[in-house]
């Protein structure tokens, strides 16, 4: 691909965005073109030494011709990404009540710890003797997680929640295969209809079919409907607890007994562990495995979509099938089991990723655990649940809670309160943007019409909650006052207003191209 240095397209694009000011800036709200559009051949953001004499040994495949990357100096790069950052909402800026995502404060101590040279510069394949501190940390995080969940074993390598699900369901599959002495004849995984989409997707990529269990009128798993589905074709059940309606599943122990009696295993989705940490050990409920999103309960930053980490705690029944690698503690200190041949009696189902897991997330989570201690973590659960219930108590007279009774760490509303206002859940959420808030989770879980799932987290102050509640009440008043046009037009004060997602999906433009701005041009 030839690399055109033509700036006209970028200038035109930015130019079309200008309305009142020369370059489209609105005071502190600064427009910023693509880096490719500020390309200045000859500029550079690094200084590298001359390599000196050497024999080129690239065979016949040395790169010919230009790549097409932009050339920009360091000051311009810093300004570019600083301006981009200012178009983002973030926990550091305000309340981020995104249900099921646990957007809590990210302590900067955690960031400082992960940058300690002893962690940041450790290579994953160093000799064991040189990385005893790293193993000690992994072992420490593993101990905390096993202790807090009351589970005997853990697999540390999964890279995120969904990856943890994969780990857990593969362990179930491996255990069934082992028990049956060949590929299991059990084909179905039971998943409540309120489950996050990763649950059925995970079951599918492990070769199982998905059988949905309905929720009952209380927003919980319908135990009778579940029991009726049990037979010798069922491999297991995946239940999120607390569930995606923000409610504790009170029948977990009974469900565990039923699934075990039927010869299946119990996967618990630990995405909402934040609500019960320090108060309930999932192991006491009879589960076989549970992933823990370190980027939720243990506050490793979400970073605009990742990275995460999803260690999986395992029961004695599933522990032998955990994937490699794992840390062991022997007489000579810590070492690593990386190959099935070195695994003794264990029967690892395989390997899930490169190296040993999301070490950087372990370091952050460990700093968070030590900072809170066992006492502070119990307080985390208490305050998270208190904050959510406070929100319900202050909004239930104007909005419509989906279910009665106390909630756990998040509260679910449906859209009955918007009936006949001409305002949808989406419109309501977009109006929140103009008020300076990130909206709650919308249209999820699917079991409630027009769902609004609010999770304040424990790191929101009472003052912050009161301000949020005042905004929500004011918006409800405005919707009821018949001001639906304002909602449909919202947001108006954000860096961009509503974007045309239909056009984006019909004619995808997924990269910058020098000549023709459509994806087809890349052919």
């Amino acid at each position: 691909m030839s690399h055109s240095r033509d700036l006209s397209r970028g200038a035109a694009a930015v130019g079309s965005a200008t309305t009142d000011t020369v370059h489209g800036h609105q005071g502190l709200l600064l427009e910023e073109p693509l880096l490719f559009e500020i390309d200045n051949p000859g500029a550079i953001g690094v200084d590298l030494p001359d390599p000196g004499d050497f024999t080129p040994r690239l065979g016949g495949v040395a790169r010919q011709g230009e790549i097409g990357l932009p050339s920009v100096s360091e000051p311009e790069v810093v300004r570019h990404f600083t301006r981009l950052s200012q178009k983002n909402y973030a926990i550091d800026m305000g309340t981020y009540p995104l249900g099921s995502c646990t957007m809590k404060h990210n302590p900067r101590l955690n960031e400082k710890m992960v940058r300690l040279p002893g962690f940041a510069n450790a290579h994953p394949m160093q000799p064991d003797s040189t990385v005893q501190g790293a193993f000690e940390l992994i072992d420490g995080v593993a101990h905390w997680l096993k202790e807090l969940t009351g589970m005997p074993a853990i697999a540390m390598s999964p890279a995120a929640g969904a990856h943890g699900e994969l780990c857990g369901v593969m362990a179930i599959r491996a255990a069934l295969d082992d028990r049956e002495g060949g590929p299991t004849t059990r084909r179905r995984i039971l998943v409540p209809d309120s489950a996050h989409g990763t649950n059925p997707a995970t079951a599918a990529v492990c070769g199982f079919s998905v059988d949905a269990i309905p929720s009952d009128a209380r927003g919980r798993v319908d135990v009778k409907a579940f029991a009726d589905k049990l037979d010798d074709d069922v491999a297991g059940i995946m239940i999120t607890n607390p569930n995606t309606c923000g409610l504790f599943e009170p029948d977990m122990i009974e469900i565990a007994e039923l699934i075990h009696d039927a010869g299946g295993y119990f996967y618990c989705d630990g995405a909402n562990f934040n609500a019960i940490v320090g108060r309930v050990r999932p192991g006491d409920l009879g589960i076989d495995c549970m992933h823990i999103n370190l980027h939720k309960t243990f506050s490793t930053p979400h970073g605009g979509g990742g990275p995460g980490a999803g260690p999986v705690v395992l029961s004695d029944a599933l522990a032998p099938f955990a994937p490699v690698p794992w840390v062991v503690h022997g007489e000579d200190g810590f070492s690593l089991v990386e190959h099935a041949d070195d695994a003794g009696d264990a029967k690892p189902f395989g390997r899930l990723k490169g190296f040993h897991g999301q070490m950087g997330m372990f370091v952050r989570a460990y700093a968070y655990m030590l900072s809170h201690g066992r006492d502070g973590l119990r307080q985390v659960a208490n305050d998270a649940v208190l904050n959510a219930n406070y929100v319900v108590s202050c909004l239930s007279d104007v909005m419509t809670p989906a279910f009665d009774g106390p909630c756990m760490h998040e509260c679910l509303f449906d859209d009955r309160f918007l009936k006949d206002t001409g305002v949808s859940t989406l419109d309501f959420a977009k109006a929140m943007l103009d008020e300076g808030y990130h909206p709650m989770t919308m249209y999820f879980p699917l079991v409630v019409h027009g769902a609004m799932l609010i999770e304040p987290t424990e790191t929101e102050s009472k003052r912050g909650l009161d301000e949020f509640i005042a905004v929500m009440r004011a918006l409800v008043d405005r919707a009821r006052a018949g001001d639906s046009d304002a909602f449909v037009a919202a947001p108006t004060m954000t860096p961009r207003r509503r974007l045309d997602e239909t056009a984006a999906a019909r004619q995808p433009i997924l990269r910058w191209s020098p000549e023709v701005p459509t994806a087809e041009a890349a052919e």
Binding site: A17, L48, G52, F54, R57, R63, V77, F81, L84, Y89, I91, M93, L109, R115, P117, F119, N121, A122, H123, M125, Q126, T130, V131, E147, G150, A159, G161, G197, T198, A201, A204, V205, I253, V280, H295, P301, H302, G303, G304, G306, E338, G357, Q358, G360, G373, R374, D375, Q379, V385, P406, T459, P491, P495, R496, R498, D500, A505, L510, R511, W512
Partner: protein, 448 residues
């Protein structure tokens, strides 16, 4: 507790508002048998300085690649990260935001992802790239699954040039969905010819370039065979910097490129988090896993970005999704983008050539050491050597002399194979001539 804003006075006034007397009343749905009132075998909370002191000591028990000469690679590489990369990724607006599901207030993350996708497509020579995967190995596994969706065939052929973690991750991911994975023997001498093994049932051929033993090859002939047989050619790159010095996989005829992006902008960090790159030809875009960011306009006609083609993903498609993936490697992808922005066209190519130069200079020096045989003739910044003694033992002894000599093949393939004497040695822009002298001296003594 410094991270918890509620005071006891706040708590009691809130409980009062809710109409309960204690927070325990809010946990009424938890059955008595499920409540934990025992004592955890864990410490109570600690002051910030106490945590810092404790963890600093722990980190101090590692001897790392910054402390002593290091030649470690095998999928994770030591490169310099410009100070501004870390400064920018630490901005709270990037660090503490979620997946950009509300595009009106997430344009920063989205535009950066669009730039990331653009840059990944350019350096790999592909049409499109997604907004990142967990790491290179999981990216490879996802590519194998995608090849089955595209070709509706069930066999994957994995070259002996592929990093064992990548083939193992692919094998694991495929084992329960009826994909037959054939993994070839380690391609130590770089002469593997897969032509006869590609049949009409082959969904994809997975090959790594540079290979795990360092060989760089022209993949064009293999690409031609794949095309003839209707199999996808998936090219793995474990050292992203190599793309600045070598013809891109796209130029050689790859259909999919999966790579580990750690080398650009991200520390070694004992193995993660890293950033998986996933790039492909345009025609496969709707079969790709992971998030995609696309350009569009807002109601005022201003250009902006959104997550798009979401119907491939689990939150909509559930059990019919292309992948169960949800989280990506957002912040690591941002670090990659910022670092590559600083490098730019010339910096990226110069950095790659500097890496190659250091490796070539190191190979020259090692060629003179008795008991060391450099294996690849053509390589980028890493090459396998055959030692006169088992590499694992030599590496341990050199570590005691404060030299991290490289990755013994036995770490990747297990001990007790014909690869026991093979050592992988990497260099980078950070490798000094003093480092090289230290390695040469230590190896000479240990092998004599």
């Amino acid at each position: 507790m410094r991270y918890l804003p509620l005071t006891d006075a706040d708590r009691s006034s809130m409980l009062n508002r809710i109409g309960v007397s204690s927070v325990d009343d809010l946990f009424v749905d938890v059955p008595a048998a499920a409540r934990f009132d025992g004592t955890f075998d864990l410490p109570d909370h600690m002051a910030e300085f106490a945590v810092e002191g404790h963890m600093s000591k722990m980190a101090g028990r590692n001897t790392t690649t910054a402390d002593v000469p290091s030649f470690l690679g095998a999928g994770a590489y030591r490169h310099h990260i410009p100070a501004s990369v870390d400064h920018l990724t630490q901005r709270g607006e990037f660090l503490t935001s979620y997946t950009p599901y509300q595009p009106e207030i997430s344009q920063g993350t989205l535009q950066a992802l669009f730039e990331f996708q653009s840059m990944v497509a350019l350096i790999t020579g592909m049409d499109v790239a997604n907004a990142s995967m967990y790491d290179g190995a999981t990216s490879c596994a996802e590519a194998v699954l995608m090849a089955r969706r595209v070709t509706r065939r069930n066999r994957a052929l994995v070259s002996g040039s592929v990093h064992p973690h990548y083939s193992a991750a692919s094998e694991t991911q495929a084992k329960y969905v009826d994909i037959k994975i054939d993994i070839c023997d380690p391609d130590l001498d770089g002469t593997e010819d897969l032509t006869d093994q590609i049949d009409d049932e082959t969904a994809c051929v997975v090959v790594q370039n540079p290979g795990v033993f360092g060989h760089v090859r022209d993949l064009s002939p293999l690409a031609a065979v794949c095309q003839e047989k209707g199999a996808l050619l998936i090219v793995v790159v474990t050292e992203a910097v190599s793309l600045g010095a070598m013809q891109s996989p796209g130029e050689m005829g790859a259909d999919v490129v999966v790579a580990e992006g750690q080398s650009i902008g991200n520390p070694q960090g004992f193995g993660g988090p890293y950033v998986g790159l996933f790039a492909a030809r345009e025609k496969y875009v709707r079969q790709m896993p992971g998030r995609l960011c696309g350009e569009t306009t807002d109601v005022d006609g201003k250009r902006g970005w959104v997550l798009t083609l979401s119907t491939r993903e689990q939150h909509i498609r559930r059990e019919k999704a292309t992948s169960n993936i949800c989280t990506n490697a957002g912040l690591c992808a941002l670090a990659f983008t910022i670092h590559l922005s600083l490098l730019g066209e010339n910096g990226f190519r110069d950095l790659a050539m500097l890496n190659h130069a250091r490796a070539s200079q190191l190979a020259d020096r090692l060629a003179d050491v008795d008991g060391v045989e450099v294996l690849p003739e053509a390589f980028f910044n890493e090459f396998a050597v055959r030692l006169s003694k088992p590499a694992g033992e030599v590496v341990d002894r050199l570590a005691a002399r404060d030299v991290l000599a490289g990755v013994p093949a036995s770490r990747l393939y297990g001990a007790g194979t014909e690869l026991d004497n093979i050592l992988l040695i990497a260099a980078s822009e950070l490798t000094t001539f003093e480092d090289m002298d230290a390695l040469v001296a230590a190896l000479s003594e240990e092998l004599s």
